[in-house]
Each structure stands twice: as structure tokens, then as C-alpha cells.
């Protein structure tokens, strides 16, 4: 549903620019029931060219491996079987969203439906419905457009890039995510940047301060260009005033602590930027805290700018 608003023109038009036609889409196509089944059957039997099989949602394999938690309507057959059959013939297989990619929210807690991702079933890249060694006809593994929900641009741009040709394994990171967005961190371009620099932290929801120290923000670890490209025209999670929950990462659903609180040991957040020595981070944080301007400290605990930036008085003529 997030993709319907792609590029502000909608998914169909955004893809059409690259000669991409939707063979069948559950929300957009006219074909329903028997007509839809005819298309899916043709795809499963390799009688129609499928350049990309896009799967949304985790694959539910329960109960007891039967797949009966998720039957394809009108067929009495588990969705997992259909995915396997079509994947065999598809040029590319694309997991749309963290559920399809890594299992996502349905895997949380005890994983009551035995959910799995298409090719990655949990914290490790260790095979989901399709085995680790699976390669689609293009030679690529499952392309994981992670995110809960993924940015519509990630989907459109990945499919368009595939259509343009030359999309190879180097375009993907070690978890099969397109590097076009996964090489960034959600932290990049965060409008709370100044608060982060000074470790002027929000203490409660709606505070303008940095969300990392107290309110659970994982943007410094989360793959994504959320704050560079923005969502729905103007927004992002951190701009909206709430924590990044690292939704592009496998296992984000069970990070071991409540989502909206920062897990800490001895007062130091556990989830620091991964590629920065912890001691340095702590030292710099202490230093910057001591240098925090009063303006930044005050505004960090307000929902609007209370103290505006100081201005140099105009020079006397």
C-alpha cells in the first residue's frame, strides 16, 4: 500500500516509465478469481515470461509444515508452493518488505505461524523458503527490499534498475538488500543532527532532542536513506518525532528491549554506531555534552523552538 503513492504518481505510472508492466497485482489488476488463477498458473508453468516475481509478506509454513495458515484463495494450496513454482521460472525474485525478506513481525515472539522470509529466515542469511544457494534465472539471489514498510522509491528504483540491465550481485549487500539505499544509514540527513552532535537528548515523546540516548532510536545502525530522500513528501520517522526501529534489519522485531526505550548498560546505550570504537564514542559524547549550548539543551526538551539561534549584532557602520 505504501507503494501506491510511489513518486507521487502511483506505482503503475512510476514503473511504466521504464517499460515495466504488471502482469498481475492483487490490488490493481482487473483479473480476479478464475482469471487471476489462469495468470498465476501460466507463470507457475513457465508459459508466460516473468521478469520479476515480487512477493509481499512473510511465508507462513505452519501449522506443522503444512502451510495451511496461508493458502492461496481458490486453490487449497499453500502460498509457499505457488511462490516456489513461480520462482523457478522467474528471471528475478524480489522480496518486498522485511516480512518477505527476513520473516519480519510475524516471526516475533514464538513465531506462532512458523513464518520465514523468502531466502533468509531470521538473524542469519541462512535460507528461508528458498535455499541459501537459490539463484533466479538472472543468477541473482532473492533481492531483499527490506523495510517495514519499505520506501516506495526503493521498490520502484530496484525494479527500474533491473529493467535497465546491468544489475549484478555487486548491487546487493551481504543480506541481499540493494546497496542504493542500504549503503546509507537512516541517521544520515537526520534533522535532529545538531542535538545528536551535542548529545542533547529528548526525554519524552514530542521533544525535539536526539532520540538515540533515551527513546530507542537505532538510526545510527539502520540501513536506509530515509532522511536523505524523505517519506510522503516531507517526512521520516525521526522528523515525525519518533525512534527509528531499524526495520530494514533482520530480527528488528525482537531486538531484546522495548522498541521505544534505549537499552543501556551502566547508562551507556548498547546500540552504538557499529563502526565506531565504543570508548571513543563515550569520550566524545561526554565532551560534546559539556559543550552543549544552552539553546540546544533547552530546545531538546521542548516540542518547538524555545530559544532561537543567537545572531551576531550588525556591525556598526
Amino acid at each position: 500500500m505504501s507503494a501506491l503513492a510511489a513518486d507521487d504518481v502511483g506505482l503503475v505510472r512510476a514503473l511504466e516509465r521504464f517499460g515495466i508492466r504488471l502482469l498481475w497485482h492483487p490490488s490493481l489488476s482487473e483479473e480476479s478469481g478464475a482469471e487471476a488463477l489462469a495468470i498465476l498458473t501460466a507463470a507457475a508453468e513457465g508459459r508466460v515470461r516473468v521478469d520479476a516475481l515480487c512477493v509481499e509478506g512473510a511465508i507462513l509454513t505452519g501449522p506443522n509444515g503444512t502451510g495451511r495458515f496461508q493458502l492461496l484463495s481458490g486453490t487449497g494450496t499453500p502460498v509457499s508452493r505457488w511462490v516456489e513454482r513461480i520462482a523457478r521460472h522467474a528471471h528475478n525474485v524480489v522480496a518486498v518488505g522485511s516480512c518477505a525478506a527476513f520473516g519480519g513481525i510475524p516471526m516475533a515472539g514464538g513465531n506462532p505461524t512458523d513464518a520465514t522470509g523468502l531466502q533468509a529466515g531470521g538473524l542469519q542469511h541462512d535460507g528461508g523458503l528458498l535455499p541459501t544457494e537459490f539463484r533466479s534465472r538472472s543468477g541473482l539471489p532473492v533481492i531483499n527490499i527490506a523495510g517495514c514498510a519499505p520506501h516506495p522509491g526503493w521498490l520502484v528504483e530496484t525494479l527500474a534498475d533491473l529493467a535497465l540491465g546491468g544489475f549484478d550481485a555487486a548491487r546487493l549487500d551481504s543480506l541481499g538488500r540493494p546497496r542504493a539505499f542500504a549503503d546509507h544509514l537512516a541517521h544520515h540527513g537526520c534533522s535532529r543532527n545538531e542535538f545528536y552532535e551535542f548529545k542533547a537528548s529528548a526525554a519524552k515523546p514530542s521533544d525535539r532532542g536526539c532520540l538515540m540516548e533515551n527513546l530507542g532510536c537505532k538510526a545510527t545502525q539502520a540501513p536506509g536513506d530515509c532522511n536523505i530522500r524523505r517519506w510522503n513528501g516531507y517526512g521520516s520517522c525521526t522528523d515525525g518525532g519518533f525512534a527509528c526501529i531499524n526495520c530494514t534489519t533482520p530480527g528488528f522485531q525482537d531486538s531484546g528491549a522495548p522498541f521505544l526505550e534505549t537499552a543501556k548498560i551502566a547508562g551507556i546505550p548498547v546500540g552504538l554506531p557499529v563502526d565506531m570504537p565504543k570508548a571513543w564514542f563515550v569520550a566524545l559524547a561526554a565532551l560534546s555534552k559539556s559543550a552543549t549550548p544552552q539553546r540546544v539543551r533547552t530546545n531538546a526538551h521542548a516540542d518547538h523552538v524555545v530559544v532561537p539561534p543567537a545572531r551576531k549584532p550588525p556591525k556598526a557602520p
Partner: protein, 471 residues
């Protein structure tokens, strides 16, 4: 007597999620219908044992189209447990976010899910078919091509107030996390003005105020014929509805439930011609024909079961939820008049959805102007270690309820009753069919139809969300 034949229709597309319908047909009409939700998701099990605030993250992820409705229900349940009430700005901003989702959903339903069926070749002989194809042919119609971008720009309101859509954490028990400055208030009004223009030009070919003020079937009839069929998509639909007698198709149970919304439309029940208040304690979930062993325990081998959907009943009765139900409970004169004539049919559901769309946008313009930059949007809402609360909300497609029990600081139990759980429920212990199952009886099936088009009109008129149904 003619032999009964059985037809299984699925995968049912242009509904959110997975749906299968089994029809027993005789003499060219549906005699009995069974509605199957073929997916089980286990969200209630996933929520149990977690930190209460985690519901704000997990519950909206039940659905990509009712996401904010689920957030709002979770936030309200938590607010009740914490005993807080958001400040006026917080209530206004949350209402704006929910109304934005409701309005976008109403438009999506009409343009993408419902109308494309009239562009089908089966209707090639009808006088309106050519315009229907031009405007609504799936993925190509001109109305779709104009209104989808308008919808996308309308959702910029979500970018501003909720960070993104779907799956925002901006809606908190104590209010909203994003304050609005004077410049942003102007941007919000610009977004609404842009959306208003698209609706007034394409959907209504009239002022929103004119549509919102329609107050009787006669007034609607007069408006329909005040201009040729091609003047506005609503008018086109009304001409089609007249031609195909959509006021006689898909009559529901005639009893309605609404949780009430935005202070515009009250909570209540309309049953046996009477309007009364809604008492959530009268609600029960019947599991007789659901593959469920207990409130949250699945049993795929259960005898006599045919759906993962439970059967909620109110005082043992089947009720319909949605825009028509909301307006019935609110004693809206147009809704009451339409239902008095038809009993609550396909046409009525679609009309009230679009009338509500007009009313929502007008209301949103007022709410933005009431926002007070500089005043608080959110209060702190510390939770006690134990407590229970419910969050009752109206999603676009009807009444949504969350029930949460907190014990020792963790969620002990979480129950969700979604709108389509009401509308697409299976039979109950007394064998009484659910609202859609009732509405499908009598639907005509044309010779040779494998995916009967009239059945599709009836099913889609409820604007089902199956993923919420089987949370």
C-alpha cells in the same frame, strides 16, 4: 427444483488481503454463501508478553492500509491504562492523521478497488460502459491516473504530521510526537486545498459542501440527474447504480454498529429500527466455524470450520460496520433514507463512503485551523504495572477495537476485533450467516460466469480488509 452447483471464487483481488468465497447456486442466483479467510497471522499471540508500548509498533503492522487506525486503537487502549488524555493539539493532530487515512482509503476503494469492475467486457452493451472504461479500466483509467497522484500528495499530510505512512509511531497515548509550527500549518492547509480541488473536479464535479449537504434519497436523485452521467465520477456511479439496480443488490443484515469518530459521528447501534448506545460488553466472538480453539489458539483441523475469521456478534446479533453504519448510527438523514428504501445495499455503502469523504476533508480544514503552534502536542503517559484498557476506533471500513490487559508491566493479553471480522464473519453457533454471507444470497449469476461480476460488486461494496480480519 434445479440442482445446486457450487462455485469457489478466489483469489479475490482488489480487496486488501486474501479472500475466498464459496457459492451454492441454483436457478441463477446465490442460495448460500460461505466466506473464507484463508490466512492466519497470530498477532495477538505475538503481542502477549511484550512491553505495553510495543503495541504501538506491532499493532499498526497488522495492516498497510488501516495502519493508523490500528495505531490509534493501541494508543487509546494505553491512554486508558495510563489515565491520560492528550492535550487539544494532540487530539487534533491525531484526528487529522486518522482522517487522512480514512479519506485516502475511501478514495482508494472507490477508484482502484470498486469501480474497475464496471469497465469489464461483461458490461460492453451498457450505455455508460465507454466512460467507465475510459476512467476506471484497471491501471489505465483517466480517473485513476488523476486521483492516484492527488492521493499521493494528500498523504504528504502524513509525512508532515506522522513522519510517514504506513506505520508511524507519531500517535502516542499522550498525544502526537510531531508539533506543528505556523509554516507547517500553512503547508497542511495547502495539501488539503490541493486534495479538495482534485475531489471537486474529478470525483464530485461539485463543491464538497454540496455533496456533504445531500440529505435525502430525493436530493441525491435530483443531484444525479442535474447533469449528464459523465459529470463527475460519483454521478457516473449513480447512473450505473440506477441502470444495474445496485440499490437492490447485496442487502446486509440491516443492523449497524459504530464506535463513533472524531466527535463528528457518535458511537452506537442501530437495530430493529432503534438507535441505542453501544456497550462493548455485549460483544462476543463465536468460534463455531472458525479454525480456532480459543480466542488466540488456532486449530487447522477443526470440524465444521471454514475460515480463520471469528464471528463477532452483538447481543447475539449480526451487525454491519463501515461508512454506511457510521452514518446510520449518526442518524444522518441521507443514510437513513437510503436504508429505509433498500435495507442497506451496494449503492448505499458506496454513496455514504463518498459523502463521508467530502465531509472528512471539510472537517480536516477546520481542525488544521484550530491547531495552536507553541502549545503542547503530547503529555507524558507513564504506565502502571497492571491495568486494562480498550481502544475503540473507526477505521475507514468500520469499527475496530483493541482490548489490552497489562500485568507486571507486560502485556498479558491482547484482543483485536477488526471491521471486516464483523462484516465477513462466518456462521455462528446458531448457523446464522455473517453480514456478507447474508448479503450475497440472491445475487444473480449469469450463465457461464466463473467469477460472477455481481458477486464482486457485493463483496467489494464492504471495502474489506482481510489482513486485519485475520490479524
Amino acid at each position: 427444483m434445479t440442482a445446486t452447483t457450487r462455485l469457489i471464487v478466489g483469489p479475490f483481488n482488489r480487496v486488501e488481503g486474501d479472500l475466498e468465497v464459496t457459492l451454492d447456486i441454483a436457478d441463477g442466483v446465490v442460495r448460500e454463501a460461505r466466506v473464507t479467510a484463508p490466512l492466519y497471522r497470530g498477532f495477538e499471540q505475538i503481542l502477549a508478553g511484550r512491553a505495553p508500548d510495543d503495541a504501538l509498533v506491532i499493532a499498526p503492522r497488522i495492516c498497510g492500509i488501516c495502519s493508523v487506525s490500528q495505531s490509534m486503537a493501541a494508543a487509546r487502549a494505553l491512554a486508558q491504562i495510563a489515565g491520560v488524555e492528550p492535550p487539544p493539539n494532540g487530539t487534533l493532530a491525531a484526528d487529522l492523521v486518522l482522517a487522512c487515512e480514512n479519506a485516502a482509503d475511501h478514495l482508494t476503494h472507490f477508484v482502484l478497488f470498486f469501480m474497475p469492475d464496471f469497465a469489464r467486457a461483461a458490461y460492453a452493451s451498457r450505455p455508460w460502459h465507454k466512460i467507465a472504461v475510459e476512467r476506471f479500466a484497471a491501471m489505465e483509467g483517466t480517473s485513476q491516473r488523476t486521483l492516484l497522484p492527488a492521493r499521493a500528495r494528500f498523504l504528504h499530510l502524513m509525512g508532515l504530521l506522522a513522519g510517514k505512512w504506513p506505520h508511524s509511531l507519531a500517535l502516542q497515548p499522550g498525544g502526537t510526537t510531531k508539533s506543528v509550527d505556523p509554516g507547517e500549518r500553512v503547508r497542511l492547509l495547502s495539501i488539503l486545498a490541493d486534495f479538495r480541488a482534485a475531489l471537486e473536479q474529478v470525483v464530485f464535479a461539485d463543491r464538497l459542501e454540496t455533496i456533504a449537504a445531500l440529505d435525502s434519497a430525493a436530493a441525491l436523485q435530483a443531484w444525479t440527474h442535474a447533469a449528464p452521467a459523465e459529470h463527475g465520477d460519483l454521478r457516473l456511479f449513480l447512473h450505473i447504480a440506477e441502470d444495474l439496480r445496485l440499490d437492490r443488490l447485496g442487502r446486509g443484515p440491516g443492523a449497524f454498529l459504530s464506535h463513533g469518530s472524531f466527535g463528528l459521528w457518535p458511537s452506537g447501534v442501530v437495530m430493529d429500527g432503534e438507535t441505542r448506545s453501544h456497550d462493548p460488553a455485549e460483544m462476543t466472538e463465536d468460534l463455531t466455524h472458525a479454525w480456532m480453539d480459543g480466542p488466540t489458539q488456532p486449530d487447522a483441523d477443526k470440524n465444521g470450520a471454514y475460515s480463520w475469521c471469528k464471528a463477532p456478534r452483538l447481543n447475539g446479533r449480526v451487525v454491519e460496520v463501515g461508512a454506511l453504519a457510521r452514518q446510520m448510527v449518526a442518524a444522518d438523514p441521507l443514510a437513513r433514507d437510503l436504508v429505509a428504501i433498500s435495507g442497506g445495499a451496494v449503492k448505499d455503502r458506496v454513496v455514504m463512503r463518498l459523502v463521508e469523504l467530502a465531509r472528512l476533508v471539510i472537517a480536516m480544514e477546520g481542525w488544521v485551523k484550530q491547531l495552536r503552534p507553541g502549545e503542547p502536542f503530547c503529555l507524558e503517559a507513564p504506565l502502571p504495572l497492571r491495568g486494562s484498557g480498550n481502544g475503540l476506533v473507526e477505521a475507514a471500513r468500520g469499527a475496530l477495537g483493541h482490548w489490552m490487559v497489562v500485568e507486571s508491566g507486560l502485556i498479558q493479553s491482547y484482543q483485536i476485533v477488526a471491521p471486516t471480522t464483523w462484516n465477513f464473519s462466518p456462521r455462528d453457533a446458531d448457523g446464522i450467516p455473517g453480514p456478507l454471507e447474508q448479503a450475497l444470497v440472491g445475487t444473480p449469476i449469469l450463465p457461464g460466469e466463473t467469477t460472477p461480476v455481481a458477486v464482486q460488486h457485493v463483496v467489494r461494496s464492504f471495502d474489506p480488509c482481510m489482513v486485519c480480519t485475520v490479524h
